[in-house]
C-alpha cells in the first residue's frame, strides 16, 4: 500500500512541472530564478550530503572526501577522478 502511494506521489511530484508547463519557453523574468535554483540546490546537496546524519550536523570522514574532491577541482581533474577520489579518501579514512 505504502509502496503504491509513495510511488504515485513521487511520479506526480516529478512530472507536475513537465506535464503542466512542458515544452514551453520560460518567461525571461523567471530565467534568473531557475539559474539561481541550481547553485542553491547543489550547495544544499553538498552540505547535507557531507555534513549531516539524520538531524545532526556532523563533521566526519565525508568531509575529507569533500576536501579530496575540492583538490581535484583545483587541479582541473575530470569529474570521474573527483568522484572516485572522494569515495576512496572517505573509505580510507573510515579504515583508520
Amino acid at each position: 500500500m505504502a509502496v503504491l502511494i509513495v510511488g504515485a506521489a513521487a511520479m506526480a511530484l516529478k512530472s507536475a512541472g513537465p506535464v503542466v508547463a512542458g515544452g514551453r519557453e520560460l518567461p525571461l523574468r523567471v530565467l534568473p530564478l531557475v539559474a539561481a535554483l541550481a547553485p542553491a540546490l547543489l550547495a544544499a546537496f553538498v552540505v547535507t550530503g557531507s555534513f549531516s546524519t539524520g538531524r545532526s550536523v556532523v563533521i566526519d570522514e565525508r568531509a575529507l572526501g569533500l576536501v579530496a574532491a575540492a583538490v581535484c577541482v583545483w587541479g582541473r581533474a575530470p569529474l570521474l577522478v573527483a568522484v572516485v577520489a572522494a569515495a576512496a579518501v572517505t573509505a580510507l579514512a573510515r579504515l583508520v
Binding site: 512541472g17 513537465p18 512542458g22 515544452g23 514551453r24 539561481a36 547553485p39 538531524r55 579518501v89
Partner: protein, 226 residues
C-alpha cells in the same frame, strides 16, 4: 571545468549524459542493492521493492518508506516522510519543464528519469537544461538503480555496506564539482551560500527533506533587485 558540464548555448547531448552519469553507476548499484536488502529484511518481499524502485526512483524516499514501516511506524508517517523527501522534485521538475517536449504522456515518462544527479549534470548554468544530457544520464542512473535493487533483493548483502567504500561521499563530490562552475557569477555565489546556509540551519530542526526544499527558495535571493 568547462568540459564537465554542458556549456550555455551548446548541445551536449545524450552521449555526454551517459558519460557524466558513469562515475555514479557503482554508487547507485550499491545503494540500490542496500535498499533491496533492507526492504527484504523488513518483510517487503521480492516484488514490492522492485516495483518501488521502478516507480518511485528516488532513493531517499524509498529508504524512508521501508525503514519507517519496518520499525513499526504507521502508513501515514512513512508516506509523509517519503513525500517530504521527494518534495524537491516540484521545483526541479518545473526547472526542466521547458526542455521536456512531446505529448503529455511523453513528458510524464521523461520526467520520471529526472533525479538529483541527472538534473545536476544537465544544468547549463544559465537557467536552461540540456534535454539529451538529462535523458542520457537519467537512463543510465535508472538502469543502475534497478539493477542494484534486483541484486539486493535476490543476492542479499554480497556487496556489503556502500559506506565501507565511501560511496556515500560520491554524491556530494559530484554536486560539488558541478557547483564550482556556478560560483563565478555573483548571483550564483549568493544563491549557493544562501542554499547551503538554509539547509544546514534547518537540519537539526526539521524532518528530512525539508532542508533541501527550503534551500530551493534561496533562488529568490537577489531576484527582487533586478
Amino acid at each position: 571545468m568547462s568540459s564537465d558540464r554542458p556549456a550555455a548555448g551548446k548541445k551536449a547531448g545524450f552521449a555526454y549524459g551517459v558519460r557524466a552519469a558513469l562515475p555514479l553507476c557503482v554508487a547507485l548499484v550499491a545503494f540500490g542493492a542496500s535498499f533491496g536488502v533492507l526492504a527484504r529484511a523488513n518483510g517487503f518481499g521480492v516484488m514490492a521493492p522492485i516495483v518501488m524502485s521502478l516507480t518511485t526512483f528516488t532513493g531517499a524516499s524509498q529508504f524512508a518508506t521501508v525503514s519507517i514501516l519496518g520499525d513499526g511506524g504507521g502508513l501515514g508517517a512513512a508516506v509523509v516522510a517519503a513525500i517530504l523527501l521527494a518534495s524537491r522534485y516540484l521545483p526541479i521538475g518545473l526547472s526542466v519543464a521547458p526542455v521536456l517536449r512531446g505529448s503529455r504522456a511523453a513528458r510524464f515518462g521523461q520526467a520520471q528519469l529526472v533525479i538529483d544527479e541527472s538534473w545536476a549534470v544537465a544544468n547549463r548554468g544559465d537557467g536552461t537544461f540540456d534535454r539529451g544530457t538529462l535523458l542520457g544520464a537519467g537512463v543510465v542512473l535508472y538502469l543502475s538503480w534497478q539493477a542494484g535493487t534486483v541484486a539486493g533483493v535476490f543476492g542479499g548483502n554480497f556487496l556489503g555496506d556502500p559506506r565501507d567504500y565511501g560511496l556515500d561521499a560520491a554524491f556530494p563530490a559530484l554536486f560539488f564539482v558541478l557547483l564550482v562552475s556556478q560560483l563565478k557569477s555573483r548571483e550564483g555565489a549568493v544563491a549557493a551560500l544562501a542554499g547551503a546556509g538554509i539547509a544546514l540551519l534547518l537540519v537539526p530542526f526539521t524532518r528530512a527533506g525539508v532542508p533541501i526544499v527550503a534551500a530551493s527558495l534561496a533562488c529568490f535571493a537577489g531576484w527582487w533587485r533586478r
